[in-house]
Structures are given as structure tokens and as C-alpha cells.
């Protein structure tokens, strides 16, 4: 079995050049991208604005056509309608029909997957629960939704078909820290279910929290690729973390280090992230809140 059929995403020399009316090259949006995303991993596509992240996703979804090179998704050529059965896509903004309400939106997308009405009746409320849209919101037209709510319904439509591969373009844009946390938790839960997630973002902290591997694109070219852990590891610094040390134990550790010739050791209490702090404060002041989203800082 080749890489193209074995992997979730496989591109070879994938290039996209936007041309002007006269056919002259205008912008080289993506240049010779060779990328393989394995099944079951959460993969981050990073880069500044205009680096080619969204172009890559559009090419994988068949929204635009490659100038050169090939792209395969779940073993089939990118853009194939057959393979779309197994793909979920959350665009960078929620491009949905604004005159439909939340339930109607999900039912519409469900029908595009030919999900039987009986199953849809069950699946739609389930998904709306998962993305955190309450009963009242479900009946409101999307044009009345806040940005966060629109992201949630956008995510729900991406999951309506229980996809094997989920492409998330800037999934946390517009979400508050709790929403961001929920989104990240959801991504991790999808990974646990064996799904492949392709995450495209320029919010590096989000990517760092959930991705197994990342690549960084810049000016249409792939600059780096690898495991997040490996890429971020600082090899000449050692960090030891523990809980509940007494002052005496701390003094003994410092004494031990000095004796063994370590002179520039720093011993401090770790700080939590601002996101963790925000989530904890909100959760502590919300009666009956789900403690699962309280964050790591507790």
C-alpha cells in the first residue's frame, strides 16, 4: 500500500499559483508542498497570514484546483465527492445559511449525507449538546448568533457525519477562553476516538496544546515539520517538577546542587497560563458547572 492510500493526507509537490486575467502568475500561494498526515493524529498547520495554510486546506477539499502536484485525502484524490462522506470541515468563519436556525442547519447538512430522518432526530440534539448550544439558541436564526455561537454550530455541522478526517481552519477564532478550552478538549476527544484532525491556526498556544505534529508554512513553503514535543524541547535545560516540598527539603536540594557544581539553578513555583486562570475563575463562580473544563491549573 502506498503512502497516498495509507495516510490521511498525502501531498506531493502540491503547488498553487493564482493567475491574473491574462494567465500571468500573480501569487504563488503554495509552493511544492510534500506532506503526509497519518491517520489518527492531530496535525497542526501553522504559519502567519498569507503563508498558504488556507490554500492547502482549500486544495485538500477541492475548493480550488492545484496548479501542479497531487493531493490525496483518505486514499483518494482531493476534491472527490465520494471521500467527502468521511470528511468534516470547519471553515475559518462560519459560512452558513444565516436564515436557517441551528437545528435546520444541522438537518440540512445531515440530508446532504443522506442521514435518515430518524437518525437525524437523534443526532442533531446530541451534537448541539456537544458543542454547547442550549435549547433556546437552537431555534434562533444563525444571523442572530454571536461569533462564538456561530463557531459552535459550524463545528457541529463539521461533525454531523461522524467524519474520519476533520479539517479545522482557525477553530478557536472568535471563541472565549472557555469556548477555546472546550474546542481543544473536543479535538483531544476526537483523537481518542481515532479520528484524524488537521488543525490550521496561527494561535500557537492552541496548537501546542493539542497537536501531535506540526508544520510551519511561510510564503507558501514548508519550513519545518515534526513532533511538537521534539520541536519545542530545549535540550540543555533540565526541569524537575514535584508537589508539596517542605522548605527543608528545598534547602537540601539546593545544597545538593551546589555540591555537585550546579551554580545557575533556579527554583521557583510554576505559573499557570492566563487561559487556565480565566477558566478556573469562571468555573468556580458558575453553579453546577462541569469541573472537567476547569483547566490544568487547579
Amino acid at each position: 500500500m502506498t503512502l497516498a492510500t495509507d495516510s490521511a493526507v498525502h501531498t506531493e509537490h502540491l503547488t498553487k499559483i493564482y493567475r491574473d486575467f491574462w494567465g500571468r502568475d500573480k501569487v504563488r500561494a503554495l509552493d511544492d508542498l510534500n506532506l503526509t498526515i497519518h491517520r489518527g493524529e492531530v496535525f497542526g498547520l501553522l504559519g502567519p497570514n498569507g503563508s498558504g495554510k488556507s490554500t492547502t486546506i482549500k486544495l485538500l477539499l477541492g475548493l480550488i484546483f492545484a496548479t501542479r502536484g497531487t493531493a490525496h485525502v483518505l486514499g483518494q484524490p482531493a476534491g472527490s465527492t465520494t471521500i467527502n462522506e468521511k470528511i468534516g470541515f470547519l471553515p475559518e468563519e462560519s459560512y452558513l445559511y444565516r436564515f436557517l436556525n441551528g437545528e435546520e442547519t444541522l438537518k440540512f447538512y445531515g440530508r446532504l449525507f443522506k442521514i435518515p430522518s430518524k437518525d437525524l432526530k437523534r443526532r442533531v440534539p446530541e451534537l448541539l449538546d456537544v458543542v454547547g448550544l442550549d435549547q433556546k439558541s437552537r431555534k434562533r436564526k444563525l444571523r442572530e448568533y454571536s461569533k462564538g455561537m456561530a463557531r459552535r454550530i459550524g463545528l457541529a455541522q463539521a461533525l454531523i457525519n461522524n467524519p474520519d478526517l476533520i479539517l479545522l481552519d482557525e477553530p478557536t477564532t472568535g471563541l472565549d477562553p472557555i469556548g477555546t478550552r472546550e474546542m481543544k478538549d473536543l479535538i483531544l476527544s476526537l483523537k481518542e476516538q481515532g479520528k484524524t484532525v488537521l488543525l490550521c491556526s496561527h494561535l500557537l498556544a492552541d496548537v501546542q496544546d493539542v497537536c501531535d505534529r506540526i508544520t510551519i508554512l511561510f510564503r507558501g513553503k514548508m519550513q519545518t515539520l515534526g513532533q511538537v514535543r521534539d520541536l519545542l524541547q530545549v535540550r540543555d535545560i533540565t526541569q524537575i517538577q514535584t508537589r508539596g516540598m517542605t522548605p527543608q527539603q528545598l534547602t537540601e536540594v539546593q545544597e545538593f546542587l551546589r555540591r555537585t557544581g550546579v551554580t545557575d539553578a533556579t527554583i521557583t513555583h510554576p505559573t499557570t497560563t492566563l487561559e487556565d486562570l480565566f477558566v478556573r475563575v469562571v468555573r468556580e463562580n458558575t453553579p453546577g458547572a462541569d469541573p472537567r473544563i476547569a483547566g490544568n491549573g487547579q
Binding site: 477541492g62 475548493l63 465527492t81 459560512y95 452558513l96 445559511y97 440540512f108 440530508r111 446532504l112 443522506k114
Partner: protein
């Protein structure tokens, strides 16, 4: 003009049909084969539901109350000629408003939908689902067809209710006026008919197959037919030919057709039926003053008399004069030889005339014979004309070209006679004498239904008078039914007619029973001219429900709205919406527009315009003419592949109170499928190759 004369010359849609098949086969069956196999009506219906919901939630249907209010206001402001006209006009307003509404609505909705979805990127979430572009296109067509269907249902319900209400009030009024004896003689028969059958009618009518105007009632035992003098009647004799037919029989050199011209050998008889203008003037001259010279030109029964003349012209198949006057008989009248029409008279057609006649692909002409002399009637028979192609040497026997009469079609087996032709139709002069000009309208396969003793006919005709007559004088018509097979002739029915107003008259069922009959009309009022066309007279065969007729009319409008939707969606797959709207209108109206220009696109018009513009330089004139002809040909070629929206004839019949024939529905469906399906295939191909991410 009768259908049998022009039937062979309709523009062929063969090229358009081939193109359509190629697009459908190439686009759908080959290029889109996979998507065709994957096609799911569930997905297409889901997409259509979104289009529907969008339209409903954007309150598109709110436009219908506005249209209804508009129709009611306009209907109140109308000035009908009578109650039937009031209903006719109201039907017209209602259906016009309905048609306009759905066309405008569907164009705007369909042409803006796709560009807007691409612009707002909503399309991302649709095309990244297992939705094919074919399902998107068909879904959108279905969606907007549902919207136009909803508009049609609302407008149809209003139209039906409003018309029933109006017709009921007007019928009560008619009943009261009849009872009070307040109805004019010209209206009596029609009002009685309205009282009996109501004003909301859907008549099944039978139309005559053609119309001929004779100076005398044709004698079934004779092949001689008579047409009026004073240029009030004319004869048309068809000739079919190939170019080679006009090569001189002894031309063994370059074999150029028309080198020796041709001779029309005609045998026309005459009969003097009234005073000539000279005799009229002579009768009025004071005693002792000599009459102008009326030099005798022929001898009849040993006596010299002045013979009448005929003018001979060559017409094309559209019955327009093809050759200039001086090309045929030197543009002058030809003296006839004898009243019996035995002696042939030669009329020379110049070589230039023949060459002009042979230009293009022309294979048919009509020899037109007009009798210009007042006080005469002219006789003609099937053997009254031949074309001779002389040899280069006088000794050579000429070739003979016989008229192209049909042996199978009795309606085309003789010279075709018609009345003086004007914009509104043919003239039937009035005569209070026992005999006089008669219009003969043959019907075939037109057996009346029902069992009543009388069968109703309707007549709508124009009336002209000589100007110095009593304008208050009523025009009286006499109608007779004649069965050529049995020879049975009905007793005449006399009735009065008002100009351009439908009048009902009745004839006994006897001669009509087998459906093969002629209706003969005479105008009994001196100095009045009836202006008639073949569709001026029709037989009311049976009655249908008006509501069913309305339903058929709305269905035709719905088919048209689907075609509009398909075209608008096609345009919007590759153009921005404002340009898509404009192009949609151009495609819709293109065929009709070229039809309107038909006269100016005929071969030879470029030359006339060059002359009118005063282009003296032959090279400039030629360049102008050839450019004009090329443009004309291009326009005609393009028009043949554009949809003929005149086939969506939803209002014409119903407003006349005529039942819409199944053929009308079939014609509309044919245009929709013949043009809509290839357009759908093209839309799919365009959209599949379109990068929907801007």
C-alpha cells in the same frame, strides 16, 4: 398566409438540436457520468429546500399582494368594448402580471444565488459535503421552481376567484339588458350566446386550413376560379425548381443558369361585370362631349373590344416581391388575348431577373398575377401558367417548367387566390348583389361535437369603408356552410358585424357533420371591406372548464419560469450576477428579437440599404452589402440555437376564451427540455470546473 404554402420554409432547428444533444451527451453522459450515477434526489431536494426557505424568509411571496392590488386597479381603469372584452382584458392583466412576476422573481433569485453563495463562502460548507455539482445545479433549479410554483398558485387562485366574481356580475347585467331589449342588433347573437354559456369560456375551436378570396363562388364541376379586378384579387402559382432547370437547353458551353431568361406563358380569361372607369366617365359626360379614347384591342364575337390587362410579378416564399418591376414583363401590364383564357400570353423575365431569383438556396417562387382593371373579373385554371426556358437559338425547343401543384393536397392543387393584402389581412369587398366576392374557408377533420341542430362559429374581422359613405351603416355578413363531398349547402345565415369585435353566428349542423366542409362568407354591404385572416373565423367545437384552462395556462408559465431559472443559473456559474441577469434576458429574448427583424434580415436587404445610403462606389457598396449579409446570417444562426419563448404561449388562447390545446403544453415542454437540459449540462460543467473559493 396558408400553412401549406409556408410550411416547408420554416427555419430548421436541426443545428440547435444537434448542438443540444452534443452538450448533453458530452457534458452529462461522458464528462459527468460519475456524478450522474451518484445523483441523489435527497441531496438535490435538500438544496432546493434551502433555496425555498431563503426565498420565503426573505418575504419574496409578499410581492404577490402588490401584484394583485396592481391588477385590481388596472382592471378598474380599463375601457372594454363589451362584457366579453372586459373579461378578456382582465384575464390578460392577471396573467401578464403573473408572468412578469415569476420571470422577474426567478431571474433575480436564480442569477444572484450562486454568486452570492460564492461571495459569502457559504458554498464551502456545501461543496465539501458529498454533494456533486450536478446536485447543486438541479437542487437550485428545483428550489426556484418551487418558489415560482408558489407564486403561481397564489396568483392563480386570485385570478380564478376574481374572474369568476367579475364574470358573474357581468352575466347578470347581460341577462337584464336582454330582458329589457336594450341590446344592439350587432350584439344580439353574441349576447344571447354569453347569456347561455357565460363569459368565462374555454372553447375548443377548429380553425380553417387556409383562406381564399374568390370573385365568384367556386363551381365544384369546374377547375376555373375567378379573382376580382381593380387589384382587389390576385392569383399565386407556385413553381419549384433547381438551378439547372434554368440552363438554356442548347447551352453546351459554360451552362450558366438564366442566361436566356425565362418566359411566363399565361392563359387568363376575363368577364366584364360592371362599367369600366372610362364607361363611367363617358356616361357622366355632357351631351356632345366625346369620351376619352378607349381603343379596342381585341375582337370578340366579331366585335372589337378593349381587353383588360394583368400585371405579373415574381414573389418569394414569404410572398414579398422578389424581382424588380422591370425584370418581369418590362414592368408593364400585359393585354389579355381572349375572355376564355385560351390564348397564351408571353411575359418575359430578364436573365438578370432569373439570376437574382436563383441567388442563395432558393428553390421555390410564386408567380403573382393581378388584374388591375376595374369592372372585370379574371379567370384562372391549373393549366393557366408555365415557365419556359428558351434556347440560345430561336430554333431550339424551350424547356417547360410546370407549376408545383400538389396531387395529394387538394388545398394546394390549384392556383391560390387571395384578396388585396394589407397589414391587417385580406380584403373582402362588399356587394349587395346576388353574387359577389366570397371568402372560402375549408375545414377538415372538424366534426362538431354535441347534437344540437346549430353549430356556433365566431368571427372577428376588421372593417374598412370607402370614406364617403354613411359611417353609421352596419356591415352585414352572409355565411353559408358547404360540404364538397355531399354537395349539401346550408341556408344562409345573415348577421351584423362590428369592427374587430368577436361575433358569434350559427350554422345548421347538416353540412358540417362529417368535419369536411367549407364556410363561405360574403360581405353584403356595398363600399365596406372586410379585413380577414385565416384565423378570423373558427368553429366552436366544444366547451371545456375555464378553471382547467387557467391551470394549463399557469402550467405553461411555470415551465417558462423553470427555463428562466436554468438560464439564469447557467449565466451565474461564470458571470457576476448583474451581467448574468442581462445575459439571461438576452438569451431569453434573442430568438424573438431576431424574429422581429426578419424582414430586415432577408437576402438582398443589404443591397437596398446600400442604395438608400447612396453608396456610389461599387466596392464600398459591395463591402457594406456583404458585411450586412454576414451579420444577418450570423444573427439568424445564433437565433436558431436560442430558445423560442413564443412557444410559452400562456395567455393568447385563454384570453380569447379558447381551450389551450395539448400541443401548446407539448411545445412549451419541448422548448424547456430542448434548451433547458443542455443548459443544465453546461451549468454543471462550468460549475464543476469553477474554483468556488475566491
Amino acid at each position: 398566409m396558408s400553412s401549406h404554402l409556408l410550411g416547408d420554409f420554416e427555419i430548421s432547428n436541426f443545428t440547435g438540436a444537434i448542438l443540444g444533444v452534443v452538450i448533453v451527451v458530452g457534458g452529462l453522459l461522458i464528462y459527468g457520468f460519475r456524478d450522474l450515477l451518484r445523483f441523489s434526489i435527497t441531496r438535490a431536494w435538500a438544496i432546493s429546500s434551502v433555496c425555498w426557505s431563503e426565498s420565503i424568509r426573505r418575504k419574496v411571496l409578499w410581492i404577490t399582494p402588490l401584484a394583485i392590488i396592481g391588477v385590481i386597479i388596472v382592471a378598474q381603469l380599463q375601457r372594454p368594448s363589451d362584457e366579453q372584452d372586459a373579461i378578456r382584458q382582465t384575464i390578460k392583466f392577471c396573467l401578464f402580471a403573473t408572468g412578469l412576476l415569476i420571470v422577474i422573481t426567478t431571474i433575480i433569485l436564480a442569477a444572484t444565488n450562486l454568486p452570492k453563495e460564492i461571495d459569502t463562502r457559504v458554498i464551502y460548507t456545501v461543496v465539501t459535503k458529498p454533494t456533486t455539482r450536478l446536485e447543486i445545479v438541479i437542487g437550485k433549479v428545483l428550489g426556484f421552481a418551487r418558489v415560482s410554483g408558489a407564486i403561481l398558485i397564489i396568483m392563480g387562485l386570485f385570478t380564478g376567484l376574481y374572474l369568476h366574481l367579475r364574470a358573474s356580475f357581468l352575466r347578470d347585467d347581460i341577462r337584464q339588458r336582454l330582458e329589457a331589449g336594450l341590446v344592439n342588433p350587432t350584439d344580439l347573437a353574441s349576447y344571447q350566446h354569453y347569456k347561455d354559456v357565460g363569459l368565462l369560456n374555454a372553447k375548443t375551436i377548429e380553425m380553417p386550413k387556409q383562406m381564399e378570396v374568390f370573385a365568384r363562388v367556386p363551381d365544384p364541376k369546374s377547375k376555373v376560379r375567378w379573382f376580382s379586378g381593380n387589384s382587389e384579387g390576385e392569383a399565386l402559382i407556385p413553381f419549384e425548381f433547381k438551378k439547372e432547370d434554368f440552363i438554356a437547353p442548347d447551352d453546351n458551353q459554360d451552362k450558366t443558369p438564366g442566361k436566356t431568361g425565362a418566359v411566363a406563358l399565361i392563359k387568363i380569361g376575363w368577364d366584364q361585370v360592371g362599367p369600366t372607369p372610362e364607361e363611367q366617365r363617358a356616361g357622366k359626360l355632357p351631351i356632345g362631349i366625346a369620351a376619352p379614347d378607349t381603343k379596342p384591342t381585341t375582337r370578340i364575337a366579331g366585335k372589337l373590344v378593349r381587353a383588360p390587362q394583368v400585371m405579373v410579378r415574381v414573389y418569394d416564399t414569404n410572398l414579398n416581391q422578389l424581382l424588380p418591376g422591370n425584370a418581369v414583363g418590362n414592368g408593364k401590364g400585359v393585354d389579355l388575348a381572349d375572355p376564355a383564357g385560351i390564348t397564351p400570353i408571353p411575359v418575359y423575365i430578364t436573365p438578370q431577373g432569373i439570376q437574382q431569383m436563383l441567388q442563395g438556396d432558393r428553390t421555390k417562387i410564386f408567380l403573382n398575377i393581378i388584374g388591375p382593371n376595374k369592372g372585370y373579373e379574371y379567370s384562372i385554371a391549373p393549366d393557366s401558367a408555365v415557365l419556359l426556358i428558351p434556347g440560345m437559338s430561336e430554333q431550339t425547343q424551350p424547356k417547360v417548367l410546370q407549376p408545383a401543384y400538389s396531387n395529394n393536397n387538394p388545398l394546394a392543387a390549384m392556383p391560390f387566390l387571395r384578396g388585396r393584402y394589407g397589414m391587417g389581412g385580406e380584403q373582402l369587398p362588399g356587394s349587395s348583389k346576388e353574387t359577389g366576392p366570397v371568402v372560402v374557408l375549408p375545414f377538415s377533420n372538424a366534426a362538431p361535437s354535441g347534437s344540437g341542430a346549430q353549430v356556433s362559429f365566431q368571427l372577428r374581422a376588421g372593417i374598412e369603408n370607402s370614406g364617403d359613405e354613411d359611417t353609421e351603416k352596419l356591415t352585414q355578413i352572409e355565411a353559408v356552410a358547404y360540404n364538397p363531398k355531399s354537395g349539401e349547402t346550408s341556408s344562409p345565415t345573415k348577421f351584423y358585424l362590428e369592427a374587430n369585435r368577436q361575433t358569434i353566428f350559427q350554422l345548421p349542423r347538416g353540412p358540417l357533420a362529417d368535419g369536411q366542409f367549407e364556410i363561405r362568407l360574403r360581405n353584403l354591404t356595398d363600399d365596406h371591406y372586410l379585413i380577414l385572416r385565416p384565423d378570423s373565423v373558427s368553429m366552436i367545437q366544444s366547451m371545456e372548464s375555464f378553471d382547467f384552462n387557467l391551470l394549463k395556462s399557469l402550467f405553461i408559465l411555470w415551465l417558462m419560469s423553470i427555463l428562466v431559472t436554468v438560464i439564469a443559473i447557467f449565466c451565474s456559474t461564470w458571470l457576476s450576477w448583474p451581467i448574468a441577469i442581462v445575459l439571461t434576458l438576452v438569451i431569453l429574448l434573442g430568438h424573438w428579437g431576431v424574429q422581429q427583424l426578419s424582414d430586415t434580415l432577408q437576402p438582398g436587404v443589404g443591397n437596398s440599404i446600400a442604395q438608400d445610403l447612396g453608396l456610389q462606389d461599387p466596392s464600398k457598396a459591395k463591402a457594406f452589402t456583404s458585411s450586412y449579409e454576414a451579420l444577418s446570417k450570423g444573427l439568424v444562426a445564433v437565433s436558431t440555437i436560442l430558445p423560442d419563448i413564443s412557444q410559452f404561449s400562456a395567455t393568447e388562447d385563454i384570453e380569447k376564451g379558447v381551450a389551450i390545446a395539448p400541443q401548446r403544453l407539448f411545445d412549451a415542454l419541448t422548448v424547456l427540455l430542448g434548451f433547458g437540459v443542455p443548459m443544465l449540462a453546461l451549468s454543471y460543467v462550468f460549475l464543476r470546473n469553477k474554483e468556488v473559493a475566491p
